[in-house]
């Protein structure tokens, strides 16, 4: 969580310095992302994230340097070689499926991947993440419906931060909980507090177990909040008050978990501070080496349209 936060802060600074034209903040979402990503098994399960899922892809195995290679659109960006906007994740070796900018198009993909897993009797699960705005899209409905009909091993995770860019949930849906829609598809729907990383972990572990046991998909809704604008190009002052944002920062997932650990005597402030310093140094070094990495070669702009261009 702390690593995601530190990368986020560093990325936004790079944007303000003019070195990164576009960044997608994650701050506030770390609890629900790390919590729901953690039960997934590396090398076995498949990750179908959306653009805010820095925390998810870090758990999946993407390194800070690889994240910055994407932010600086370098040739070595594992997601796209600098072709997509930053935060459009994808990494075949890690099982992270590439996604686009149109919202919720990855949801039917998750259903199809899970169908293929079940068809081959693979002990594997798909995790599929999206925001609450995505739930208005037809593809979201179609994907959940298909997954439920065939009881395929997929867990759908909604990171509900109340705003689809500027549009509040009240104007996105008439229901209070996205999770309540699960019943309409014939799958369980669970609401969890997104700032409680352990609650998110438990909900995902249960859903993951259900999926592995052949009991089909689950919809988990994490109530969360993003502290920063939608992207570096957004101005969130135009649609929400500073007071509202500050209020949510009192329920910070990192502070909450640190409080939990210290309360249980599992760590102390000193060790948290040294972890922070260690991760900060790692982020700074990752940023520097990514910045120094080569840019994509414009001569290769025509490559990879078809497989025969892959050479």
């Amino acid at each position: 969580m702390l690593l995601a936060r530190l990368i986020d802060e560093a990325a936004l600074r790079q944007n303000r310095m003019g070195r990164a034209p576009f960044v997608v903040p994650v701050s506030g979402h770390e609890g629900c992302q790390i919590g729901t990503a953690w039960p997934m098994r590396l090398g076995t399960d498949v990750w179908v994230p959306y653009y805010r899922d820095l925390g998810v892809v870090l758990v999946a195995g993407m390194t800070p340097e690889e994240v910055f290679l994407g932010i600086f659109s370098k040739a070595g960006d594992p997601s796209s070689g600098g072709r997509q906007m930053p935060a459009h994740w994808g990494y075949r070796r890690l099982g992270i499926v590439s996604h686009s900018s149109p919202i919720a198009t990855q949801v039917p993909h998750a259903a199809g991947i899970a169908y293929a897993m079940r068809y081959r009797n693979e002990d594997a699960v798909v995790g599929c993440w999206f925001g609450e705005g995505a739930t208005s899209e037809g593809d979201w409905h179609e994907g959940l419906n298909f997954a439920a009909i065939h009881r395929v091993p997929v867990v759908f995770v909604c990171e509900n931060n109340e705003y689809a860019i500027s549009v509040h949930q009240d104007k996105q849906m008439a229901v209070r909980d996205v999770a309540s829609r699960a019943e309409g598809y014939g799958m369980p729907g669970v609401v969890v507090e997104g700032s409680d990383v352990l609650a998110c972990f438990r909900a995902m572990r249960e859903a993951h177990d259900r999926a592995r046991a052949g009991q089909g998909p689950t919809l988990i809704e994490c109530k969360t909040y993003r502290y920063l604008p939608h992207t570096s190009d957004d101005d969130d002052k135009s649609y929400r008050s500073r007071a509202e944002v500050e209020e949510h920062k009192h329920h910070d997932p990192i502070d909450r978990f640190v409080g939990y650990l210290i309360g249980r005597g599992l760590t102390d402030h000193e060790r948290i501070q040294s972890l922070h310093d260690e991760l900060k140094a790692e982020v700074d070094s990752a940023l520097t080496s990514a910045w120094d990495a080569p840019d994509p070669d414009p001569a290769l702009v025509g490559r990879h349209v078809f497989a025969e261009d892959d050479r």
Binding site: V46, T105, P108, A111, I113, Y119, N145
Partner: protein
């Protein structure tokens, strides 16, 4: 060789590919118990089981989107859109996802899948069972768009499409399904996706066409040879993306006269691209103005027989006249 209708050739080729490779899946509306509205997959459910022959919910975007997911996980899905007219809800999945997957991941992920869609008019299908959709998709790099119109081509190109590492939109003209019969090799031969095919050789005039219009052009060309001794070379584009410009240009350079015939609305249709290619690269080889014949620029094909005929003009009689005019220019 066996004589088959176009639809039987497609059915048999699909069957063989499914029998040979358990990664090949079929999904779409009514493909299972019903065997497809055109009976392409009749008996498939019983033979291959409901895991591989999937009656999907009535949701085209999911049909394509789920197929993309299957392809990403190593299967070879064949997604059937019941009528090409209903493919539009899946436009985003085809264009934003399938066609861009390889490019946007710098070659990391690929999307080997086939989307089959019966298209075209002349079967009393009216506005929403007659559409030509090829131009929307042929504009999209990363997607292969084909419309084979003989049983041998359909069978061979479907086999190639299923084995292709990239997404292929496989268009089947409904009017050809049972009307067009032809010899199909029994050995499972493939026909490559890319090359156009000279369906009739001639030295006086080149006609570039595809789909049902191919058969009308061949009929007019045969009569013209008999009546007037004019030899029309008929080039079947077969694949619209990638378009085989070399075969088209070689024919035009040989005959010095060129006509492009297609059923779709004339404006911005695939024929416009073919005509532009000829104009751009063979202008000084032409002895007569390029002729482009396409459907009328009205929203779609109407239902009533006289109205439908008005859209499906020109009939072979009229094509005959236009070819004669061009040959004598």
């Amino acid at each position: 060789m066996s004589e088959k209708t176009l639809v039987a050739a497609i059915s048999d080729a699909l069957h063989d590919e499914m029998a040979a490779d358990d990664r090949v899946m079929l999904l779409g509306e009514d493909v299972g118990a019903r065997g497809g509205v055109f009976k392409v997959s009749e008996g498939f459910l019983e033979e291959f089981g409901e895991d591989r022959v999937i009656d999907t919910p009535l949701a085209e975007s999911a049909i394509v989107g789920v197929a993309i997911g299957m392809a990403l996980r190593g299967l070879r899905p064949v997604a059937e859109i019941e009528f090409a007219d209903f493919i539009h809800p899946a436009f985003d999945q085809i264009v934003s996802e399938a066609a861009r997957m390889r490019y946007r991941t710098n070659g990391d992920w690929g999307c080997p899948m086939v989307i089959r869609a019966p298209c075209g008019g002349g079967i009393h299908g009216a506005l929403y069972h007659s559409q030509s959709i090829e131009a929307f998709y042929a504009h999209v790099p990363g997607l292969k768009v084909v419309m084979p119109s003989t049983p041998a081509d359909a069978a061979g190109m479907l086999r190639s499409a299923i084995r292709d590492p990239d997404p292929v939109l496989f268009l089947e003209h409904k009017k050809c399904y049972r009307l067009i019969k032809g010899e199909v090799p029994d050995d499972g031969a493939t026909v490559p996706i890319g090359p156009a095919d000279v369906k009739r050789e001639g030295g006086d005039l080149t006609v570039v066409t595809y789909g049902f219009e191919l058969h009308r052009c061949l009929e007019a060309a045969a009569r013209l040879a008999l009546d007037e001794g004019i030899e029309v070379e008929v080039v079947d584009a077969r694949a619209l993306a990638p378009l085989d410009t070399e075969t088209i240009l070689a024919s035009v350079r040989k005959t010095s006269r060129a006509m492009v015939v297609y059923e779709d609305n004339r404006t911005y249709g695939a024929g416009a691209e073919i005509a532009a290619t000829i104009a751009e690269r063979a202008m000084f080889d032409l002895d007569a103005p390029l002729v482009r014949i396409g459907g009328p620029d009205i929203p779609a094909m109407p239902y009533a027989a006289p109205l439908e005929h008005a859209f499906m003009e020109p009939e072979p009689d009229q094509l005959y006249v236009r070819m004669l005019e061009l040959a004598r220019f």
